[in-house]
Amino acid sequence: MDILRFITAGSVDDGKSTLIGRLLYDSKSIMIDQLEAIEKQSKNREDGEIDLALLTDGLRAEREQGITIDVAYKYFSTPTRKFIIADAPGHTQYTRNMVTGASNSDLIIILVDARNGVSEQTRRHSIIASLLNIPHVVVAINKMDLVNNSQDVYNNIVIDYSAVAASLGLKDITYIPISAINGDNIVEKSASFPWYEGESLLHILENVAVANDINYTDARFPVQYVIRPQTDDLHDYRGYAGKVISGIYKKGDTICVQPSGLQSVISAIEIGGQQVEEAFAPQSVVIHLQDDIDISRGDVIVKTDNLPTIENELDVLLCWMGNKPLKAGNKYLLQINSRVVKAVVKEIEYKLDVNSLLQEPSPDQAQLNDIVKVKIKTASPIPYDSYKKLRVNGGAILIDETSNVTVGACMIQ
């Protein structure tokens, strides 16, 4: 059994939370007491239907307003897969919370309200899916019940969205007509769409191939912590603890520490105290080296025949998440995996217009939820890969040193 992490996205009220409620309900993943609780709350509703969105809208403020504010994580499994679902908010104001949920997702379900078609928020979330390089996209055209399950409506939205997808370079897209509220095409294929040739949503989720998304070629091991027991019997023990974020490491491999460039050979690898011959992504391990060289937290152990880029000038696509605007010249901390360095945003090259997808050159500043291209200079060179090539070693966050808050998501080019 493996894991699929996915997120639901799309405009306000397109039915994201309802869809997840349906998926959980129809796959019998909701417990009686949870159902009773939402039934009780749904009583106030005029139509008397139970509101499945209440399953994920867990905050009081969300239930009061009937909207999602922050990501909720839900879990269910079928015999083949464990699913980790992130239910994202649709409101533009809360886009940064959507980005939070999307950053770890293998797949994104973009909902489109069949009555409204592709909207600004559909485009915004699609851009984010593209920026974050989410490998698989499902476009679910929802509320088909409100358009008489019309194939024409469906086809027109597919045509519209295909244009957006093409301009964003989104790949591996699957389209599906659904009615989240009625459960059509969610767990079972529905008779409401005799013209639809594909499978149910759950079937798609169970079968999308995530195995290929792991990179076994470019070995990257950021050191998180150095284990040094310094007891009598373990006097010389020095292990580098971290997670293999990509690639494979074997005993005897010649390695190189970045950014220092020091070299050594792997003498042992341990997983949970057991010696192993090799380690691969995404295992958490301890690596031992033949030589006592200077390595500390934030350094990256790589192999001499496959080096990352080491630079202090970075071209970055940036989702701005700060409440205060970003201006050229602002200083932040930049954190990439376990490495933190001081950084300055030298220049804002352009801002992306979410509707036209055009670039507005040299804006004065970036506001909350803007997507901009910037040049960042770091106080010292950092080892990284382009995000496009290696998601796990090309994403970084910006931290406001005065408030400690995470204010930016960087996709290094």
């Binding site: 007491d33 922050d70 980790i84 770890n104 370079g169 912590y225 295992q283 992306l352 808050v405």
Partner: protein
């Protein structure tokens, strides 16, 4: 346009996997690795972390994950237990023996002491609980030891407010959670930067479900306190729930008390944790029952969540875990 934003790289051929097929981690291995990574981020980012350890199954799994993260080194944090004084003796005994067996430091602070020192008022009534008062002792303990990070065993599948919380959850100096002001948390990059007086609650097993925990316990042959397995116990039947009789709950005329075969699904205070009628005496039996059950873990076993729709959210806002 498309040049800059065309980000999706499909260059890796799908046939590449071929001989890497055996290098696919099972879901439990993936969860384990994620949790170990979080533990090591805490060790790397904080000066004075603590692991909150109650002797319940989730915190026991947490300690096992810490062993995998740091052995043969010592834990870079003590184990801390906030003892309400209403705990199950079996869990307390297990707590002490386990801490001793692994040779790690255990700090215990008692809610009873806080009540006495600060003149706090105890709840009254049949199931008078110290759940709310627990937060006072926790915050005092954080202050006493200047803890900057507290690692806890909460899971997002437990409850709808928990489902919303980040893995690194920043709390102000009163321990308060502000659900409308959570920091973005991207990829597996955790920002643990805080000001003096603030602290971070860290939840390494956020993405585990109850069943994942049990399957992990089975796979790794993890030992648990005896109360998780079927045993005879005198219980009070109250509104469909079975509450162990003890000096902490007040029996009244007409209360239905009987000896039943029960086990516990969660271990909290004796006053607010209910037992489940069960003959399951092995982990395999328990897993079978969990798969078949129609009631959620908290729904079946927690009396304290029933108070209001937003009970957990409110407690978190007030500094609770």
């Amino acid at each position: 346009m498309s040049e800059n934003i065309n980000l999706v790289d499909s260059s890796r051929a799908s046939s590449e996997l071929g001989d890497n097929n055996y290098r696919r981690l099972d879901y439990l291995d993936q969860l384990e690795s994620e949790s170990i990574h979080i533990f090591r981020e805490v060790a790397g980012q904080f000066e004075r972390p603590a692991l909150l350890f109650s002797g319940g199954k989730d915190s026991i799994v947490l300690v096992h994950l810490a062993l995998k993260a740091f052995r043969p080194g010592k834990f870079p944090f003590p184990l801390v237990h906030i003892d309400t004084g209403h705990n199950f003796q079996e869990a307390l005994d297990f707590r002490d023996q386990f801490a001793q067996a692994i040779g790690e430091k255990l700090i215990v602070r008692n809610v009873a002491d806080t009540i006495r020192e600060k003149n706090l008022t105890e709840q009254k009534g049949k199931f008078a609980s110290r759940n709310a008062l627990q937060t006072f002792t926790l915050l005092d303990t954080i202050e006493e030891f200047k803890f900057d990070a507290c690692i806890g065993g909460a899971r997002r599948d437990e409850e709808k407010a928990r489902a919303k919380e980040r893995i690194f959850s920043v709390r102000d100096e009163f321990g308060q959670w502000d659900p409308k002001l959570q920091r973005p948390e991207l990829w597996n990059t955790y920002n643990g930067k805080i000001d003096k007086g603030e602290n971070v609650r860290v939840f390494p097993i956020s993405n585990w479900t109850e069943l994942d925990i049990w399957n992990y316990i089975r796979r790794n042959k993890i030992e648990l306190p005896s109360i998780y397995f079927s045993h005879d116990r005198e219980v009070l039947e109250y509104q469909g729930q079975l509450v162990a009789t003890s000096e902490f709950i007040q029996l009244e005329e007409g209360d239905k008390v009987a000896i039943k075969k029960v086990r516990y699904r969660t271990v909290g205070d004796m006053t607010c944790t209910a037992a489940v009628e069960s003959n399951a005496s092995t982990i395999d039996d328990i897993i079978k029952e969990i798969i078949a059950t129609k009631t959620s873990e908290r729904g079946e076993t927690r009396i304290d969540d029933r108070v209001s729709e937003a009970a957990m959210e409110d407690r978190k806002k007030g500094g609770y875990f």
